[in-house]
Amino acid sequence: MIVAAAVVAASSAYVVQMPRIRYRIHRWEVTDDAVYTKSGWLTQDWRVAPMSRIQTVDSSRGPLQQSLGLATVRVTTASAAGAVAISALDADQAAALVQHLTVRTQQTPEDGT
């Protein structure tokens, strides 16, 4: 009984608190030079992808994201480890961002490696 109670308490605390903590930590920013993200909660991760090295820009929307009007923008570089994802953006904002990034990366003619 005590164990079960503890499990229930821990998981409800997790369900209530984790998203808040994540929401407080997650950040993204697009400057003229690079795309930045910060994500994670226990392990936090800052990622940078320079504009001149971006190879592909795509957005995806899962069923849950669709119902909430959200979208995830993913930016990849030539490195297998270099992908930067901005998850759960407002769908319109995501579309505008993809457009902006696509235009920007076409202006920098390096081969990205």
Partner: protein, 536 residues
Amino acid sequence: MDPEWSRLDPRTIAVNLMRTAGSLVPLFIGLVVLGNRSVTDSVISLALLAVATVAVAAADVVRWFRTSYRITDERVELRGGLVTRTHVTIPRDRVRRVETTARLLHRVLGLTVLTVGTGERGMGEGDTLRIDAVRVAHAAALRAALLAPPDQITAVAGGAPGAASASGAEGSVGGTGTEGGVGGTGIGTTGAPGLPGAPQEQVLERFRWSWAPYDVLSYWTLLVPLLLLSVLFQFVSAAGVDPLGADVVGQGSGWLTDAPLGLAVAVVVVGGLAVGVIGSFALFVSTWWGYMLVREPNRTLRLQRGLFTTRVTTIDESRIRGAEFRQSYLHRRVHAGRLLVIAQGLSGQEGATSDRSDALAPPLPVASADRLTALALGLPGSSPLGATLHRHPVGALRRRLVRAALTTLAVALLTGLAIGPGPAPLAAAALAAVFGALALLYAADTYRGLGHSVSGSFLVTRQGAALRRTTALACQGVIGWHVRQSWFQRRRGLATLVATTAAGSGAYEVLDVELSTAVAVADAATPGLLTPIIDR
């Protein structure tokens, strides 16, 4: 106009046939020789085997007819597939690596397999293309043409006399294939820089017998005797003989048990080691015989090696992004290690190190490795791998000690549980004490291995104890950063900095440095890129 499609060399069929026949031999022995059956059974088995052989041979012939390749001004293309048709296309400006591999059968028939790679992982099938197999001379011409500077790119076999044509008459294909190979030597690039003996080639390093001991000194050498023993043991058991009861082994082990214990152990250890050393030495010679690292005039490095299977890897020098030095614990004791190149198109995939395409040399002494690194990377001064590295903060040592202590605790608990009550806990405690001491030493050694520096235009990082890896990554090859902080790292104010790159394994880490150091390192390597986010 695009050139015609070319067929593989017809001798490929012969190679495949011989290989098939070879692989059927054990089956033949199993079914007919060892199979303790009646005559009719044997005849049926033989007939089935014959049918299988014919079917496989027919498949080989059909596959040969359906496989063709061509190299146009823009693309390398390969069509093939027995049932499912495949068509692989690689744009020529994406070619980063060209490799030829000839196994023994190929060499007897003068053939070689040409592999073309782009080094773009995550693209699946389209990443590499294998032309299996063509004449050696033709492969050399294709290789030279594929690695030609962009302004000299020409379609191979386009307009060449007697270019092997897929639409050629069946009977004459063998002849045209050969001519295409010979004729192809002269086309592609002017001056054919890929040919051995061309005047401007610079040999950076050659095979050295004095390096053999470093290759022999590996964990494999210690493992070989164990493997051999277990194989022998199983073989004897399978033959229906109890290995320990058998006369020969019984006598041997009887002699061993009768003899003084120390002598018996010594005999087993020395004998096993001798087998291991001889085996490793043979492997060294077969892998590295004829090793040569050559700088070719058209800005490529050529790496060739092999006694039975010969292998020639060509790397576009403009795609080289650094080097990595790997030292096992044994190699560290004798100041030696393995040297790998970090380049696009040479995947950093793990595997037997001797079989990797990115191995620049056999295991070699540190001084030779430094010299060769500087030469291969085209650096005038010393190798970045030999740079003095900054020590990591004490917090990194604490993390490793805590990990060692926790592992020891877990081991102690588990052995304690497994042994149960009685006089044994004393033994468990002793075991845990020994394990704990070793774990703490290991932790300290791992900490001593940590280091980083931005030396010249290279980001140099070092980590590991059982396998110590020092990597030097060219700053211009860094195409992004991650800064990672686990909860434990945040408590100690530490962070892990990861440089991402398109070459090698794709990510190189600086473990457990202070957050400010991580930012400073990234800033020194790629000024102004990481600072904007960390500041706020």
